[in-house]
């Protein structure tokens, strides 16, 4: 009896290990393609990427900064940011900045928001997230209008909109602290 159960589990483990070996490479490729795709949507055309992690000043997990270069000139920074204030847990998004701090564009990466309501943060579902394009967080208030900000909330999904703003603000705060404030002292962006 014990032997049978052992044999069943051993056979199952062996099969799974084999399948894992076969799929590990394509899975890594698919994830990398997804990341590259998100980056290319939020920064201008680039030919080289450099990644570095920075801790947000407000605490929590570090954010991945992807510096995009074209002919060795910095054209944009794509920040992989997150928030835990979503209606159903964590939302991750890719925020693209121009080197001067303005927002190029924002795309969501993962969320579990309500279908039909909160999922309007997705680019394909509605053009809601287009309002972030070209905003300069130094002067604009990245909050929903209910919180005296400049962002129109999503009807019936204020919490999701608020969370998305939180994620973008976190990306900007980190960007501001680690990069913008230093480049102002040096008088140019040197990385």
């Amino acid at each position: 009896m014990v032997l049978t159960l052992f044999l069943v589990t051993a056979a199952a483990s062996f099969t799974l290990a084999t399948v894992y070996n076969f799929t590990a490479e394509p899975i890594a490729q698919a994830r990398e393609a997804k990341r590259q795709n998100a980056i290319s949507q939020v920064v201008a055309e680039f030919d080289r990427l450099e990644s570095k992690n920075f801790l947000p000043p407000t605490g929590g997990d570090s954010l991945e900064f992807n510096f995009a270069y074209l002919n060795n000139e910095l054209v944009g920074i794509a920040v992989n940011t997150w928030t835990n204030r979503g209606y159903s847990g964590r939302i991750t998004a890719m925020v693209g900045f121009y080197p001067d701090g303005r927002i190029f564009d924002v795309v969501h990466l993962q969320h579990k928001e309500t279908p039909g309501l909160g999922d309007k943060i997705e680019k394909g579902k509605s053009d809601w997230s287009d309002q972030f394009k070209g905003l300069d967080p130094a002067s604009a208030n990245i909050r929903v209008t209910k919180d005296n900000g400049d962002i129109d909330a999503i009807t019936a999904a204020t919490i999701t909109a608020r969370a998305y703003c939180d994620a973008i603000q976190r990306a900007y705060d980190t960007f501001e602290k680690h990069i913008l404030s230093q480049t102002k002292e040096k008088g140019g962006l040197e990385l």
Partner: protein, 197 residues
């Protein structure tokens, strides 16, 4: 029972969702669109087919006392295979279904067919049973997903039915719509069953 009857029983007469009321968790959870329903249905069909074949092949080797744990290990292995394969080769489908794939392990439809059918019948019958039941499940999920998508978003398989209008009756996209839609489909299937019987 002929193999043809064995195959077709899953579609209406013993439809897993609307008649046997098995596997309601994924049936209610993932059916926000016809495409999601179809994807989940086909993934479950694959797991069901794999587990039914293996269970019917080794049913005589497994002592009764450990048969349930063994079945669960077999089913869980197939689910993991589906999950890895889907993430590797169908990343878009994985994005919308990934969360629900591990739930196939506890889908009572798969366990139920292994215990009630495959552990007692020969391999060919078990295969046909799995295909019939799996397609019945896929049909059920696609119908519920389609109904919810048509009413909730005025589209089917992502194609807009009325150009320019995309805000449907929201309730059908949300959880209550799943229960309402399922209730009416249960009525329909019981009516069809009575008519064909």
């Amino acid at each position: 029972m002929s193999q043809w009857k064995n195959f077709t029983k899953g579609l209406i007469k013993d439809n897993p969702v609307y008649i046997l009321l098995l596997g309601l968790c994924p049936a209610l959870g993932v059916t926000t669109s016809a495409f999601n329903g179809l994807g989940m249905g086909l993934a479950t069909t694959f797991v069901l087919l794999g587990s039914n074949i293996v269970v019917s092949l080794i049913k005589n080797l497994i002592p009764d006392k450990v048969r349930i744990p063994s079945f669960i290990v077999i089913i869980a292995s197939f689910v993991t295979i589906v999950q890895l394969t889907m993430e590797a080769y169908m990343p878009d489908l994985f994005d919308s279904l990934g969360l629900f794939i591990p739930l196939i392990v506890v889908n009572c439809l798969v366990m139920g067919r292994a215990e009630a059918f495959a552990s007692k019948k020969d391999t060919l019958s078990s295969m046909i049973d799995a295909l019939g039941m799996g397609l019945g499940f896929a049909l059920a999920l696609t119908m519920l997903g389609g109904l919810r998508e048509i009413l909730g978003a005025y589209s089917i398989f992502g194609i807009q039915l009325i150009p320019g209008v995309s805000d449907g009756m929201l309730v059908f996209v949300l959880a209550p719509g799943a229960f309402i839609g399922m209730g009416y489909l249960i009525i329909l299937f019981n009516y069809l069953k009575k008519k064909t019987a």
